[in-house]
């Protein structure tokens, strides 16, 4: 019960002069209830990789096992509907997928497509609206009157309403203000911890990777070049820089402190909280050292 990429390759427009290889031999395993962050430079194949996960794109070679589903190059579209329900996908700028007259109808749209009765779906929509932090008064309004951030919430509610077991987020906080970002990321983290959702997050925000992810995959030019825990990935800043990736600010600051004689017995701190905790632990010794 997990996500398992087995030597997955994908080529766009295979067999034409315009063919471009977007994924080359990617093998990766995400355990059940895992939290994977995929990072990499723009155009490194992150979005292509996650579109394999609900078979919007099918591998041109290799195999992908997601819980009870196996996707091979031969898989036909007919068998994919249960998979689409199992794997919820929040695309980049998901607000562009809203279309119904009312917000309630739009959120209920997904569940109804998967066979839920309209009345149940409508009730569920109200529940989801609350989950993403909008009150019931929004239910009957048109999605097009909302602000960009609120539209984003409605779109995400529409995906969560399908009760997916695996949630895929393609830069869910791009273009949101800091508070909105914080709220959304906290919501996903809560779903992960309380409801056991497996989360796959594509992002350029290293802070989010350091704070929430349990596993990180680094993509470059369609290849998986490194994977491991955030600790392992961020421990080598020179390598990250060579791959045009940043280190979380707290880790960067911690490394500058290292150069001034600090050490981190509990491992390099990646978040401000972890950094503060380790500094606090070292604080009483400071008097003895007569720095």
């Amino acid at each position: 019960m997990s996500i398992w990429f087995k030597h997955v390759s994908y080529t766009y427009q295979a067999g034409t002069p315009l063919a471009t290889a977007a994924l080359t031999d990617v093998s990766l395993r995400v355990p059940d209830h895992g939290y994977l962050a995929i990072i990499g430079h723009t155009g490194s194949g992150k979005s292509t990789l996650i579109q394999q996960l609900n078979a919007l794109l099918k591998p041109t070679s290799g195999e992908l096992v997601i819980d009870d589903f196996t996707i091979t190059p031969q898989t036909t579209n007919a068998d994919l509907k249960p998979l689409r329900r199992h794997v919820g996908m929040v695309f980049q700028f998901p607000e562009s997928q809203l279309f119904e007259e009312t917000i309630q109808k739009d959120i209920a749209f997904g569940p109804q497509n998967f066979g839920m009765a309209p009345a149940d779906a409508a009730a569920l929509a109200i529940e989801m609206l609350d989950l993403v932090g909008l009150d019931e008064s929004y239910a009957q309004r048109s999605p097009f009157e909302l602000s960009g951030g609120q539209m984003r919430r409605v779109a995400i509610a529409g995906v969560l309403a399908m009760h997916p077991q695996i949630l895929i987020l393609d830069e869910p906080t791009a273009g949101l203000d800091p508070q909105g970002r914080q709220e959304m990321m906290t919501l996903f983290d809560r779903l992960h911890r309380e409801q056991g959702l497996t989360i796959v997050l594509v992002t350029h925000q290293m802070e989010d990777v350091a704070t929430y992810a349990e596993q990180v995959a680094v993509m470059r030019q369609g290849k998986l070049v490194k994977s491991g825990t955030p600790q392992e990935i961020f421990a080598d800043p020179a390598w990250l820089q060579a791959n045009q990736l940043a280190v979380p600010r707290a880790a960067q600051f911690a490394q500058e402190l290292t150069q001034r004689g600090f050490s981190w017995p509990a491992g390099l701190p990646l978040t401000a909280d972890a950094l503060a905790a380790q500094l606090a632990a070292q604080w009483p010794q400071r008097g003895d050292r007569h720095v």
Binding site: K81, R84, G88, Q92, S96, Q97, F99, M162
Partner: protein, 266 residues
Amino acid sequence: MSKFIFGRYLPLSSVVHRLDPRNKLLLSFCYIILVFLANSWVSYLILIAMTLGAIWASKIRLGFFLRGIRPLIWLIIFTVILQLLFSPTGGHVYWHWAFINITQFGVINAGYIFIRFLLIIMMSTLLTLSTQPLDIATGLASLMKPLRWVKVPVDTLAMMLSIALRFVPTLMDEAQKIMNAQRARGVDFGEGGLIKQAKSLIPLMVPLFMSAFNRAEDLSTAMEARGYQDSEHRSQYRILTWQRRDTVTWLIFGVGLILILISRRW
């Protein structure tokens, strides 16, 4: 959709790619007239030679063309069969039933129609494969210039055309993205009966129109902010130049024209 090569651009470096777009548009237009002028097997052989020559000069593989024509083959076959079955009587009658006659005249005409279709599709595919959309727009605008004298707003049309062409791939991407997003929410595109299929298009069409409206608003604001007032008295960044190779294409075309006029059955 990805099999459909008509209307796409293939970036290569060849003589055909470097020709003046105005020249290519005019040539393609005159070529179509030429296709309809030809009416004997010899004249069609000359045309086929010209077409293959043009494709060879463009360095694009012939197989790529043939594969691109495949989606249109049913249209061609349909027309050819209609021509075959319902042409007026003339020449030797091979088969006759009720109002259907297969005659010598019909068979020859069907053959002609098949070749005409093929040649026109191949040449216009060559035009789009070897010319960037923006170059086509600039070329068309430049060719439309004389229409100014009859009060046609040529510059405005040219601006609209180049914006439209610029946004075709953007809107295609957007459409693909929205389709994927709605698929992920359980929409089945292209499945079920006619009404179900039409209904499944609503979650695609509404967001696409909304996004086009928003885009237009943003774009017009950005254009005004950059000093765009009206389309008159604008200078040009892309200046097209007629070169010797453009003249040479017309010499070749002229030779072809004369040969076809000679071999034509009057």
